[in-house]
């Protein structure tokens, strides 16, 4: 796992910035929801209009299920955001982030209301995939420190 030799410095810088920007966005959104009294995902879920809409709508019907969804959304976003910014378990976090974005995308896919299938959700979904496949946290981030510690132990 010696990615750093595969990337040039400008490449690392850009990948790191992408990781920070996406992380920033997620953490901000998560904290904002956390501090919004009675925030709920229900209005968004009710907007769902594609083939999976029944599942999304069902999620809003039961208060217990809905509160789990709300919890997962808020804390999912906060933890993924923190993880990307700090560079801690960033690859796994980016995969979870990509899954979350995928679920937002298929809930309200843009091609039903607009002529294109490309929207911001799709961009963020692919940003997560890039972050997962081109990790920088073992160059800059706590993952790097952990690896160093572990490597030294092994050695």
């Amino acid at each position: 796992m010696t990615h750093k030799f595969l990337f040039t410095k400008p490449q690392i810088t850009l990948l790191l910035l992408l990781r920070l920007i996406v992380g920033y966005h997620f953490l901000f959104e998560g904290i904002d929801k956390l501090f919004t009294p009675n925030w709920t995902a229900a209005p968004f879920l009710l907007q769902a209009n594609w083939v999976f809409s029944n599942i999304f709508h069902w999620l809003t019907g039961n208060t217990a299920v809905l509160s789990v969804i709300n919890f997962l959304n808020i804390w999912g976003q906060i933890l993924i955001g923190l993880s990307l910014i700090l560079g801690l378990f960033s690859t796994s976090a980016a995969i979870f982030g990509a899954l979350m974005m995928l679920s937002y995308y298929i809930a309200v896919p843009p091609f039903l209301s607009a002529s294109t299938f490309v929207d911001k959700n799709l961009f963020e979904l692919f940003s997560f995939l890039i972050i997962a496949l081109f990790p920088t946290s073992d160059i800059i981030g706590i993952d790097f420190l952990m690896k160093k510690l572990k490597g030294d132990e092994d050695g």
């Binding site: 992380g23 901000f28 700090l86 800059i140 981030g141 790097f144 420190l145 510690l149």
Partner: protein, 524 residues
């Protein structure tokens, strides 16, 4: 052992490594700053608006208790068409079909709204209509109508009269609701008052000044309770609007714009067909055409005229009587302006077939109030349904009044300029809305009903509940009959509103500016 390992590690991880590991943590600080800034701005925004406007979010009025202790009032209904159905619903009777169709739904706002009505302790004693079908429908509502408590009326004694004079002669009837076409209103109101009945009469009051004076003097002398069917005064947003104007939040208001925006045959009063194109019922066999025509010129029976009478000046004052009247009444409730000094109306039949109507489909009216220093501009089109709102334009802010009330700061207002500059208020977004949440309409609410609801003509919210404002208007009339007091649209208000309508109509027909002579009490 642990001690020595720790020492070992700290030796192997260099300061440079720690920097690389924690290099991104300052980003969290930036984020925290960003987030706190956003929250603080939101907090200040709320505070500023609450502090400076001096308005609270409590409802203006609260409904009284569910109990109604008054004695039973016996009501006669003259004219049992579609508007009467709404009035009978306000009295607390709906058809079992209507009730059951909504009871089957998971949630129905119109049913919820109906269930929010109090029992008014009234009985429909008699109905009168020239059309057998309408009369039957009224009898059925009186007999079997479902009340807001969910129980059927079970009234076996309701009578049908074929002539309204016979209904008025029935001594057991305390009060009448008149919901006939407009050209019958004045004569029927006068006859009803002379027969000793309290009157709730649909707008418009009369088609001529002479009739209006007769009605005015008859009601004034009688001591009986009169209410004209201008229900807008019961809308919470109108009450809030009055408060906002009185507190001078808008600054000096010099222009008020009101509009009508419709684009359907039904909206242009072609109403003899159902929306699926099938003809509505009615023929010479079932409709007493002579009586329907009353004192108007004799014309052969026409089902189109029967349903679409509002299009003809023999039966109505056109858009002035049908819709301008609501706007004038609504604005008057907020501004308290009385009779206009002068009125100019113009327009024409530019879209619909000229041979099928007198009523213009494009109609503009300017009403001047030089003493109060403002103009009211009314503009109507029956060939485009783009919503243009109802807006009060003040030096500092604009107020849009519909079902919800919205305040927009004016970008050039000295009062709000600092708040706009600091980003606390955006001129393109309302800085105050009332009520906070929009009203919900259910799936079976029809397009026309939706139009009326959006314009604030049907619903309001009281104590967080959707309430039918026609119900509140009827209830007020009954309360005043029982307990005394005065109705919101009493004969004095009805007189002022109707003079303005007649001025607009006269100006349109005579193609000239008309004025009000306050001494002779005459339009000149």
């Amino acid at each position: 052992m642990g001690e020595s390992k720790k020492n070992n590690d700290s030796k192997k991880i260099s300061r440079r490594d720690i920097l690389k590991g924690l290099a991104t943590t300052p980003v969290l600080g930036v984020l925290a700053y960003d987030f706190l800034k956003k929250r603080a701005a939101e907090k200040v925004k709320k505070k500023v608006v609450n502090l400076n406007l001096g308005l609270n979010d409590k409802d203006v009025s609260v409904q009284s208790s569910k109990e109604n202790t008054g004695e039973l009032l016996r009501i006669g209904i003259i004219g049992v068409g579609s508007r009467a159905n709404a009035l009978i619903k306000a009295l607390g009777f709906v058809s079992p079909d209507w009730y059951n169709a909504r009871a089957k739904l998971k949630s129905s706002n119109s049913l919820e709204k109906y269930n929010n009505q109090e029992m008014l302790n009234v009985e429909i004693a008699a109905v009168c209509d020239v059309f057998d079908l309408h009369a039957e429908n009224g009898l059925n509502l009186a007999r079997y109508g479902i009340q807001p408590n969910g129980k059927p009326a079970n009234n076996k004694n309701v009578k049908r009269y074929f002539r309204y004079q016979d209904l008025l002669a029935d001594k057991s009837i305390d009060a009448v609701i008149i919901a006939t076409p407009d050209f019958h209103h004045a004569r029927m109101t006068i006859d009803a008052i002379n027969a000793g009945k309290h009157v709730y009469c649909e707008k418009t009051m009369s088609l001529t000044e002479e009739e209006l004076h007769d009605v005015y003097h008859t009601v004034k002398k009688s001591g009986l309770v009169f209410q004209l069917g201008h229900q807008l005064s019961k809308s919470e947003s109108y009450k809030k609007a009055r408060e906002i104007v009185n507190k001078n939040i808008l600054g000096k208001v010099t222009l008020i714009e009101a509009t009508t925006n419709r684009n359907t045959p039904s909206g242009a009063w072609y109403r003899h067909l159902y929306s699926n194109g099938k003809p509505k019922p009615g023929s010479l066999k079932t409709i007493d055409w002579e009586q329907w025509l009353g004192t108007t010129p004799k014309v052969p029976f026409s089902i189109d005229r029967y349903y679409g009478w509002a299009r003809y000046f023999s039966y109505d004052t056109g858009l002035a009587g049908q819709l301008l009247s609501h706007e004038i009444d609504g604005i008057n409730q907020i501004m308290g302006f009385g009779i206009p000094h002068s009125v100019v109306a113009s327009g024409g039949i530019y879209f619909w077939d000229k041979s099928t109507r007198d009523m213009p489909d494009t109609f503009q009216v300017t009403l001047e109030f030089p003493d109060r220093e403002f103009s009211v501009l009314y503009s109507a089109t029956l060939a485009n349904s783009r919503q243009r709102g109802r807006v009060f334009m003040g030096h500092d802010a604009s107020m849009e009044v519909g079902n919800r009330l919205k305040l927009y700061a004016n970008p050039d207002s000295p009062k709000y300029i600092n708040k706009i500059k600091s980003g606390l208020i955006s001129p393109s977004e309302p800085f105050y809305t009332y009520p906070k949440k929009p009203l919900d309409l259910d799936a079976i609410t029809s397009a026309t009903e939706r139009y009326y609801a959006e314009r604030g003509l049907t619903d309001t919210k009281v104590g967080g509940k959707n309430i039918d404002i026609t119900y509140l208007h009827i209830k007020e009339w009954l309360d005043v009959i029982r307990n005394g007091g005065t109705t919101a649209c009493n004969i004095d208000i009805a007189y002022m509103d109707t003079v303005a309508v007649l001025m607009a109509h006269k100006s349109y027909v005579e193609k000239r500016r008309v004025q009000w002579d306050p001494i002779k009490r005459k339009i000149v």
